[in-house]
Symmetry: C2
Subunit: 726 residues, 2 copies
């Protein structure tokens, strides 16, 4: 069983290499196309190298701090700095490879779109598949490697506590991956939206030149941004989600069977083996995505749906086999939890589609309201976004209760088993990530191919084909997004439970044998349930420290969003100035006789992204540490749960409002309510611009924030519990 | 000691009557001014009578339901329907009187403003004082009356449980008051903002006629809206806050001394006596607001500050005397908690001022960003609003910890005493409500006076004077707002604790003698601490029912805001259509030769408000009941705490973003960034319009929502605990 995961990881990486080489052998198009492609790739790589330098410094600093603490203080493993660093490093590597692939795939997709839709789909999807396989392959390989190494290096001893310790130590990998993901999402989000807003506001609205017109100085930055934000950002984000969910489930597995140590190895193996099996089924799904030469859009969609659907169904079968083979008690209950996770992800994805697609009422209403002007368009989008929190939260809530109930056999005393079920539900959602990410990542590739086609003046039929691909991608990406959102809530919850497990280890290392529960009773440390720990640490909902922690959690989510939204606004304002200045100072640019200075726009976005991403990252790292130092364990648990609830709702609101404005605008552009250049269209463009930082910067970053705060709390639990003022 | 409160209440009502009669004797202005004043008053009364009819039906239905449940089921008192109805009735009465006063005061203020600024201030402030005295007088009289009556009617028995039962029964008064407040805030907010947005978008932006121009068909509706939303809505809101904070503190007082029944009466009397003393100091403060005939704006501000400041300082002295006289243990600790509350309110108020006044950086930055167009103006406002949650939440958090710590003598085992301290902190904030509300309510009176002056063509110097008064009001109102926001969080927290007390009574009525705490111990029911109840009901933060409840709480806050924002958007769209249609169909309106049809606009706002306010109200009432039925006590406590945290942060975000946009627009109108009619101004107007439903509909209603949900949970605790599926 152990070998499923490493073999799957190696297979995925080998296949990714093969796909990549095959991609390189395709026709990269004419000289002009290649020139534009190179401009975009150079911009993207400039950004990435600067981003990695800034992050390298941040990571080195934190690793040093961890090192000092690990050797001199109460951190529970000396491996911590290295595990942390590798999390950041491999996430960065996945982002780098993804970006190299995406920039190359988009010119080739544009070239393929000159001949047919299905050829273009094939190339774009292959580009996305490289990304998916690299992210998942590297992630799974690391998870397996570190768990194996830490287990080997941990001295023998009390078995139950030992494996809890091994698995919680491995969670430090997630700290590195999460921090890197936060940098990538926030930095990438600021870069891409500053460029996008700047390009749109001055180019489209003020000057009236079309999108992706080479006369617009911000156009290259805008296309670079699509890669930086959507490809590198999303890759790092999902790398973190994937590894985090598996590691959290392993830790909960070890904890769930603390009183039956003989079952612990199987409980730890299960998430890894299921993830490995899911990787194989995802690969099978990829090969099922086959398109005939002259396929139309509907057939392409069917083909993609067959691929992702088969992967999911096969995964469920494989998971049932794995759970039975491992001999865990109540395997059907655990399997039921996994199914609950997958169903939750699908429903959340569909509700996202409902809330943001122009085929449904909410988005159509925004388009309608745009006829009343920008203010009513913005109000309608905000209202729609807020209302759209209902279905995802009801679904995730039901999913949590089902996963918990099924895994624990509806026995509320078996809380640890129930939480393990929640961990498995998250793993279930993300097991087929390789193919869902492929469907997600091929969208930006198609989008960039369209930009390239436009700038290379390849003619409208090419752009129409890439637009069709892009629209297709939006539909298939819905499920992937649902999995990402749903798993974030579940993983955060699992991490909060891990936090308590770390406290258990700490007490055991300090020689505690029993827990004193108020004045009433005592209980052995390893027999103590999580509920007992809540009593011991006075974590109850009427303790003001818990409630104040919860308020701080809500506040952190809002401040984090405010910082990222402000950062985009600030950077966009600079970009607007720059584009206006270039047009004003050199009128030949608009005439098309000289090339604008693209690099200054790229530099503005890059500098702004580097400068502005530090604040939000610092907030995410410091909030749990400071709360812990002041308010202790009750405050930290309050912070994490409060941040989870508010942050989750806020993330859905921001993402869906932004998505709905975007599609309302496209709906009007398709000829409704007066079509392009009508008053309604101008109002919708303003709505879309407001939504840009919502959906591509603040929204997705919040999902990382809630996990990063939890994982930082887990790693620093020893320090905060020891030094807490409360 | 008992007599302080009733005497204070009667004094306040008598003084209000005297002020009102004096107001009526003032010069109501020329015929045209009176005609316009009558149009506005008639519109306001039409709205109010329709609103009260709809609410009458809702209240009758709920009271009937309560009646059936009280006699046939497990509700803990047969008085419940009557107490509930009186809460709604007296709140409505306070709103009605406030509106009658405000509409009459505004024409007289306009007339006074023709001669001097200080005369106008005197009349407007007197109008506000009537409102403040009526709200506080009626509120305190009811609180005293019901507590007295219920105490007399409750059969003798175990003293400790008896007084807990009396005080929690009296909380039902808050259900009626809160529900009425929610209707008034949501309905009034929808009315006023639909009219405002409609009048501004078509009148100011599209047609280019000035504000408050009689040619605008929506202008009367707009002026009616100021009364309906700002006067009646705010009055009902603060009536609810005031009564709720006193009643919650009384209930917590009874619970805190459950093991020392001899101290319970004093603990229950303390909040009432402090509120009564605060009413006297507020009256003294009112008489200290004296202005010389030729005072300038600065002197007027000083005079108002002296009034509110003296009232607050005198209150603190009086509270110290009351607490000592009552012989409660640790009186200085309790007094410290009260001081912590007052300081929290002042700081929150100042931070609101900082976040929304054009004298400070955040609002100035929004004005600056408006030069980049509407999108960047909106983004900047959203960012500012989100960041503005920091200071209030940090302050309220510190206030909660200080009040809890000081009252409990920093002894964490004395949790009940600490919670009583939090209740007293809320009472401290609201004790001088009569004068802070007077300062708050005189703003809309001055605003309406300005509208009247404009429409009656009294000349620019009169408008300038009323504008100066309005600006002054904004500054003094900041503290009042801080008290309202801060007390909402504290009262909600106190109500959550009361919820647990109700469960204790229920168990005791069912004959339980002991609580079983897990498998480990048992404890006597009355000796059991709140923490023990948390164990008994499995309310811990890793119980999925609690976490799912918290997620639902966050969701409820977002859906509630979404519903109210959407409602304004929808109603405003109808209003825009109507105003456009009137201008189109009868061009004579714009020429000024015929009067537009004002009543159709009033009718549109009225109908929309009635229709759209039911959904949010239903949500607030059903959320705790349904959550209780499905997830039981853990789910309800999760819902309330999750709703409190998310709702509180969301409310601050929405209110401050709206306020900042408003003042950014005014800053530009004052001549910055190109002044009125510049591109920046148009962008700022769009920001202001987006902010209208944020700051005047969703934001303030959220503060009521979090309390209403808690209080509904308290009243239905018996049913949900008995029937819960979980």
């Amino acid at each position: 069983m152990f070998w499923i995961a490493p073999i799957a990881a190696v297979t995925a990486l080998a296949l990714a290499a093969a796909f990549y080489l095959n991609l390189l052998s395709q026709d990269p198009g004419n000289a002009r196309m290649q020139h534009i492609g190179n401009l975009v790739r150079r911009g993207a790589m400039t950004y990435l190298s600067r981003q990695y330098r800034v992050m390298g410094i941040a990571f080195a600093g934190i690793a040093l701090l961890f090192g000092v603490l690990a050797y001199g203080f109460d951190l529970h493993s000396r491996w911590l700095p290295w595990i942390f660093l590798s999390g950041g490093l491999f996430s960065a590597l996945a982002g780098y490879i993804g970006m190299q692939t995406a920039t190359r795939a988009s010119t080739r997709t544009a070239q393929a779109a000159r001949s047919s839709l299905s050829k273009a789909l094939k190339l774009a999807f292959r580009g996305g598949a490289v990304m998916g396989l690299v992210v998942v392959g590297l992630g799974l390989a690391n998870v397996v490697f570190w768990l194996w190494l830490i287990e080997r290096m941990t001295p023998a001893g009390d078995d139950a506590a030992r494996l809890i310790m091994v698995t919680t130590t491995a969670l430090s990998f997630s700290v590195g991956a999460s921090l890197q993901a936060l940098f990538a999402r926030v930095g990438g989000g600021i870069f891409t939206k500053a460029a996008d807003v700047g390009a749109d506001l001055v180019g489209k609205v003020e000057t009236g030149i079309p999108e992706d017109d080479l006369r617009n100085p911000a156009v290259i930055a805008d296309n670079v941004g699509d890669n930086v934000g959507d490809v590198a950002g999303m890759g790092a984000d999902l790398f973190e989600s994937y590894c985090g969910s598996i590691l959290a489930a392993c830790a909960l597995g070890a904890a769930a069977f603390a009183t039956r140590p003989e079952l612990q190895p199987a409980a730890i193996l299960a998430p890894m083996a299921i993830a490995g099996a899911g990787l194989f089924t995802a690969i099978i799904g990829m090969f099922l995505v086959r398109v005939r030469e002259q396929a139309d859009q509907g057939q392409l969609l069917t083909s993609l749906t067959i691929g992702t659907g088969s992967a999911a169904v096969l995964l469920l079968i494989a998971a049932a086999l794995v759970l039975h083979a491992l001999g865990l008690p109540g395997p059907w209950g655990l399997w039921g939890a996994l199914v609950a996770g997958v169903v939750t992800g699908v429903v959340v994805g569909q509700s996202t589609e409902y809330s943001t697609s122009a085929r449904y009422r909410p988005t159509l209403r925004i388009a309608e309201r745009a006829t009343g002007g920008p203010a009513t368009a913005v109000i309608a989008g905000v209202g729609t976004g807020m209302l759209s929190t209902a279905i995802p939260i009801l679904t995730v809530g039901t999913g949590i209760l089902m996963a918990f109930g099924l895994a624990s056999g509806f026995d509320r005393a078996a809380m640890e088993l129930g939480l393990y079920g929640i961990g498995l539900a998250a793993v279930g959602m993300l097991s087929t990530l390789a193919i869902t990410l492929a469907c997600d990542a091929y969208g930006p590739i198609a989008d960039n191919a369209g930009g390239n086609a436009e700038m290379s003046e390849l003619g409208p039929e090419v752009r129409a084909r890439t637009d069709a691909l892009d629209a297709l991608g939006n539909t298939t990406a819905a499920t992937g997004k649902g999995f990402a959102i749903g798993s974030a809530a579940l993983t955060a919850l699992a991490l909060i439970a891990s936090y308590v497990e770390v406290l258990r280890i700490r007490l055991s290392e300090q020689g505690h044998q029993v827990l004193a529960l108020g004045n009433h009773a005592e209980i052995g440390l390893l027999e103590a349930s999580l509920a007992d720990f809540m009593v011991y640490y006075e974590v109850n909902l009427l303790n003001p420290a818990v409630l104040v922690g919860m308020l701080f959690g809500a506040m952190t989510a809002f401040i984090f969003s405010g910082l990222t939204v402000q950062a985009v606004g600030k950077a966009a304002a600079m970009m607007v100035e720059e584009v206006r200045a270039q047009f004003r100072e050199r009128p030949e640019i608009l005439a098309g006789t000289i090339e604008p200075d693209y690099e200054r726009c790229v530099a503005i976005s890059t500098t702004a992204a580097q400068r502005e991403m530090l604040g939000p990252a610092l907030l995410a790292v410091l909030a749990p540490v400071l709360t812990g130092l002041v308010l202790g364990v009750p405050g930290v648990i309050g912070l994490l749960t409060g941040g989870l609830c508010s942050g989750f709702a806020l993330a859905i609101f921001l993402s869906n409002a932004g998505g709905a404005w975007d599609n309302a605008k496209k709906h009007i552009e398709a000829g409704h309510h007066g079509g392009k250049n009508s008053a309604a269209w101008r109002a919708a463009v303003i709505g879309d611009t407001v939504g840009d930082p919502f959906k591509d910067t603040a929204g997705p970053s919040l999902n990382i924030l809630i996990k990063l705060m939890s994982i930082v709390a887990v790693v620093t639990a020893g320090i905060t519990a020891a030094l807490s003022w409360w």
